[in-house]
Amino acid sequence: MRLEDHPIVKFKRGKEVTIYFNGKPVKAYEGETVASALYAAGIRTFSRSFRFHRPRGFFCAIGKCSSCLMEVDGIPNIRVCKVYVRDGMRIKTQNSFPNADSDLLGFLDSIIDRFYPHGSHYKKFNRPRILREFVTKQIRGFAGAGDPPKKVFEGNASYEKIETDLAVIGGGPAGMSAAIFAARAGAKVILMDENPFLGGQLVKQTHRFFGSGRHRAGTRGIRIAEILADEIKELKNIDVRYETKVFGIYNGVVGAVERDKKLLEILPKKIVVATGAYERTLVFENNDLPGVYGAGGVQTLMNVFGIKPGNVGLIVGSGNVGLILTYQLMQAGIKVAAIVEAMPRIGGYFVHAAKVRRLGVPIYTGYTIQRAIGKKKVEAAEIVKLDEKWCAVKGTEKRIDCDFICIAIGLSPTHELLYQAGCKMRFIPELGGLVPLRNRYGETTVEGVYVAGDVAGIEEATAAMMEGRIAGIDAAIKIGYGGDEALKVREEVVRDLKEFREGPFGERIVSGLKKVSIEELQEAEA
């Protein structure tokens, strides 16, 4: 299942290592995550659902969905899509007997609701107390999330206190641009990302980007990530911390864990939150069947790790992500059976649709997926036509044979840190979900905390880079760096961004932004 040849990407694989999955040796290469190595070895069931013991595969591949939780070297509930393989690593599936693939408790899925419907644990077997305690213990054995660790942590943990001008959280295009522009103005910056590399979503975008040449359109996403990473290397006042997860912002103090071992207490003068977004899922029968994946998850597997997600795919959603993913799958030699789109017309750019249409991929507009078919993994999908009221039209069902389904219906901002930091938030459908109020430079209602990129509202990389630049420069200016030149650059980028959003694709964004713009809200009040 590993790709050897690819028209765009050259996959560099590390040293061969052996990991043990439920006791069996599995071949892997250094640099691969546990999830991708298991996938390449043909393993499809990664976990069992909490209550019904339904089989679950990976979904997001970026640590956001929890459907890949396993026990790693004795520690339960590890997201194996975020853990890199090491020789001799022992991985076990949890909450199943004897293992997730052939879980005997799987029968619960078909009967549990009959005997023990939702809410039963409040009503049944409550008295006497001894019975309740006994039954609760049994149930916890059936349902649950892994066994507690058998040993205590024995490694060396350490602590570091860092004083700096600017802390940037997230190393995607927005965070990288913020760091570069603040550092160029003279600020001292710490840039943190939970991955062992910078680039965020860009590392899986093998296609040439849209936008203006000045913001690197016409260049492949993967190259943009390299260019920005090189610029960062040049700037000695940026301290990059890889594999560093930020877990909270407490009155301006940023808390993070570096490489699972070191606690960081960061005292910055300003903060830019650029944590990106995660994928949404869709409601349909069997949408949790292994083989139903997020579009970004498939891109990660295929374009970052060079592993084929399957042989024939069905794409749900014809936005740019769905269209581009279709093209990328075909570049990897994978067939795409069809693209389905619930709206009466294609959602993404026409030129992206034309690219795959001329290679013979059918696009069903006005259709949706009704169910995934298969016992332990996807074998086919059933799609159906929708009428004007978005109701399925009986008799229009079509079966599409495929071995995986990609959900490409959009993203939601990774907003948790902002919310926790106390920023005033609003749910704005045009921007993809819960987002913070901000002024024209991206500063939120919490002084000194900025937002940039997809977490400020789902858009795309060009806008993310511009927002990052604006936030980075503005933070530097407010700290006292940059002078007139910085002011000039800031206004230039603000203008470019405005022009960029002036077309029909920007309309939705602009109308969403109005609802969270601190200036507009103040004006409305006055």
Binding site: R214, F350, V351, A353, G360, F505
Partner: protein, 162 residues
Amino acid sequence: MSYLVRGYLEEDELPPKPSKERLEERAVAYIECPQEIPCSPCIESCKYDAIRMENINAPPEMDYEKCNGCMQCIRVCPGLAIFMLRLKDGKGYVTLAHEFLPWPKKGQEVVLLNRKGEEVGKGKVTWVLPPERNDQTSLVRVEIDPDLIFDVRAIRIIEEGE
């Protein structure tokens, strides 16, 4: 906007075509990018002022007289929406961007596909810009029936034994 339902342009939605005389003179860029999208690498790459675009969201418009066939635009267009067209000695030529394995080779016979992915005939590859010379976007010129230059928009490599 019905091309947005289908995913391809119909004859009546095509941009204005260059004249037969113009096509016989030298190769010309033909841009199939009708929608307003925030994109502008084509105009930024053209040194001959042959592409017009009022702002970054406006669709590009060609001035066929100014285009000198330099192919800068087709190298960078992220929409793979630009095709170089040419008529010469009773033959038609289409140059298109190609990003699939196996890479086409000069002299090879290939299957021709139209905008809907239907096979419309066969053609011969007469020139290739190797992918490594253009960050993995190869340019491929095919010699085809002259009546098909406004139809052929992709190629498929013939597999062994086919």
